[in-house]
């Protein structure tokens, strides 16, 4: 496994997201880039047909829950799942979701925002500082540090969660906000990406001239380094944000108090009660719908920033 330096040409800083080249210039660049031979009418119909069928597959569960959230529990079982029922119960279901148990749903949602927002922001900053240090300085122990962290990328998160729970129990911080937040602050993969990016995009001569101007090392990192690394930081932030938001195992192990739950744990808690109390079907479908709307909007807005190209040369065969 070798890491190669590749100028991150496809991830250059872009001050204006609206003019993102991947989105706006794509059609023009697209035509030049693509496999032009197959652009006949028949192949357009075949290809688009395949894409439509696949899109139906990806959208069906979402469509189902939109419909399900408008139904009473009775109708959920009595009527066709893909069609609206005569009684439109959406507003009542949503009222239930937001008022049940003193509005616990809103609290779960805010907990997720806290865990994912704060966690991803700090994790990105720490990964950037570490990656920059490994890329731009020569010091004893550097390779050991990098090798160890790289090994961390391959350690399954759930393998450390169990012993971490035992450790946090001894420290008396299990079942607190800290128990979920602290492990979310570390992203070995983020450090790995930041190092590659800093190596390729932070110019040594810029650092040197900063030093000549009398700026301290930390100041150089905070002003020049962070600015040059911005595209990588966006990727690391988004990666970590989604990772924390979607995490289930860690909060499941750490948290006993349902007031500290993130939304994933909370909704699963509601779902697990449907067998005893059928009204939880309405809570679950309504809650699932409300919880995925912001995620869907976020994914559609954010996909243009998702620079998978950063991983170029990361693992070269």
């Amino acid at each position: 496994m070798t890491t190669t330096l590749r100028p991150p040409s496809d991830a250059t800083p872009n001050p204006n997201p609206a003019s993102d080249p991947a989105v706006d210039i794509a059609p023009a660049k697209h035509r030049g880039n693509t496999v032009g031979v197959g652009s006949s009418r028949t192949s357009t119909i075949i290809v688009t047909g395949i894409l439509v069928v696949v899109a139906i597959y990806f959208l069906v569960p979402i469509y189902y829950v939109v419909i399900a959230a408008t139904k009473t529990t009775e109708d959920l079982f009595a009527t066709n799942g893909f069609l609206l029922a005569p009684t439109f119960n959406l507003w009542e279901n949503l009222r239930l979701v937001f008022t049940y148990d003193g509005g616990i749903f809103v609290r779960w949602f805010m907990n997720s925002v806290l865990y994912a927002g704060v966690g991803a922001l700090l994790a990105t900053y720490f990964a950037a500082a570490g990656g920059y240090a490994l890329a731009k300085y020569e010091f004893r122990g550097k390779n050991i540090v990098y090798g160890t962290v790289l090994g961390g990328v391959l350690v399954p998160g759930t393998a450390t969660a169990l012993p971490l729970f035992l450790l946090f129990s001894q420290m008396g911080i299990s079942n607190t906000y800290w128990s979920v937040l602290i492990p979310s602050l570390v992203s070995p993969f983020g450090l790995f990406l930041c190092r590659i990016y800093a190596q390729a995009s932070v110019d040594n001569s810029v650092i040197e001239s900063g030093r000549i101007d009398g700026a301290g090392e930390l100041r150089i990192f905070h002003t020049l380094g962070l600015r040059a690394m911005t595209p990588a930081l966006v990727t690391v932030f988004l990666f970590q944000l989604v990772g924390i938001w979607n995490n289930f195992f860690l909060p499941l192990i750490m948290l006993a108090d349902s007031k500290l739950y993130p939304i994933t744990l909370g909704l699963n808690n509601w779902r697990s009660q449907v067998d005893r109390l059928p009204e939880f079907y309405q809570l679950t479908t309504g809650g699932v719908l409300v919880s995925i709307i912001p995620l869907i909007v976020a994914m559609i807005v954010l996909q243009r920033y998702w620079r998978g190209g950063l991983t170029d040369g990361a693992v070269k065969g």
Partner: protein
């Protein structure tokens, strides 16, 4: 001057040691320890003693645990290649000139990545449960008798959920890499008379190799960690027991049986398996690419 890199690294390293190194060391230590409870309920105190490989022997001789390893391996052998092929094909189609509305499709395929595994499982669960699922209603009307939650099928129902969640994400990584291929390469190929298939096979696929390798390694690691999907489906499928996957097994041992020694041994085995499989895959990939280069 040499203090600067350590100051920059300090927050990351402190947290890395706390949340990676210490837990791994303590898991290894716990996995070699057995706990004896004195008295009927441990009321006379608890002693820890060195157990050698007892916990490992016990974990590996537990047929449910080895069966769960076999189950996720089977899952991985089928699901990972299916997903990698699917996301590669979708990326190539979306980047071909034949695709209409590529932005819409790209967003639609990527969207499930934002839906947490637990919620994706709740969603698909509704489509799997008889009486609730319109899919089963339609199949029933056509005379098909499908059971998504039976002992032979539920593993593939889980595979469907995982594929649904991650295909779009992997596709986006591949698209980013396809976009970084310079236009001149395509033009040169076309001048040489290469058609769509030839260009996809001999230009695009080799150049997106690194993205495919990374996606495969992450998928292997993800497969070994399979947990929330079977946990959530457990209540609707009797075919899923408390040791259905290695992670579920470790979770059950730790929290239902309070047997941290066995649970830690299982966690270590899972981590080792992830290492071995990832490196084995990278080694195979490296060897074939070297052979390619020598052959060329």
């Amino acid at each position: 001057m040499q203090r600067a890199p350590w100051i920059l690294l300090a927050p990351f390293l402190a947290l890395f040691i706390l949340t990676f190194i210490l837990p791994i060391l303590s898991a290894v230590a716990t996995s070699f320890t057995s706990v004896q409870r004195q008295g009927l309920f441990g009321e006379d105190g608890i002693t820890n003693s060195f157990a050698g490989f007892d916990n490992y022997a016990q974990a590996l001789s537990d047929s449910s645990f080895t069966a769960s390893i076999g189950r996720v391996l089977l899952f991985g052998i089928v699901q990972v290649p299916v997903m990698i092929v699917l996301c590669t094909v979708l990326a190539l189609l979306l980047e071909s000139a034949s695709a209409r509305w590529p932005q819409f499709f790209r967003a639609a395929y990527f969207m499930p990545y934002g839906v947490p595994g637990v919620i994706a499982t709740i969603l698909w669960g509704f489509l799997y449960i008889p009486g609730l699922s319109p899919v089963l209603d339609i199949a029933g009307a056509m005379g098909l008798d499908i059971d998504f939650l039976g002992p032979d099928t539920v593993l593939w129902s889980i595979a469907n959920i995982v594929t649904w969640t991650y295909t779009g994400y992997n596709m986006l990584i591949i698209i980013a890499q396809l976009k970084s291929i310079p236009g001149e390469i395509y033009e040169a190929a076309r001048v040489d008379g290469a058609g769509s298939w030839k260009i996809a096979w001999s230009i695009q696929l080799p150049l997106i190799r690194p993205a495919l390798i990374l996606a495969t390694v992450f998928s292997i690691i993800g497969t070994l960690q399979l947990f929330s999907e079977p946990l959530v489906l457990q209540t609707s499928s009797p075919a899923i027991d408390s040791q259905y996957t290695p992670n579920l097994s470790a979770y059950t041992n730790a929290f239902a049986f309070n047997n941290y020694g066995i649970a830690s041994a299982q966690a270590v085995i899972i981590a080792l398996a992830a290492f071995v499989l990832s490196f084995a895959f990278l080694a195979i990939v490296n060897r074939t690419s070297r052979a390619d280069k020598e052959g060329a």
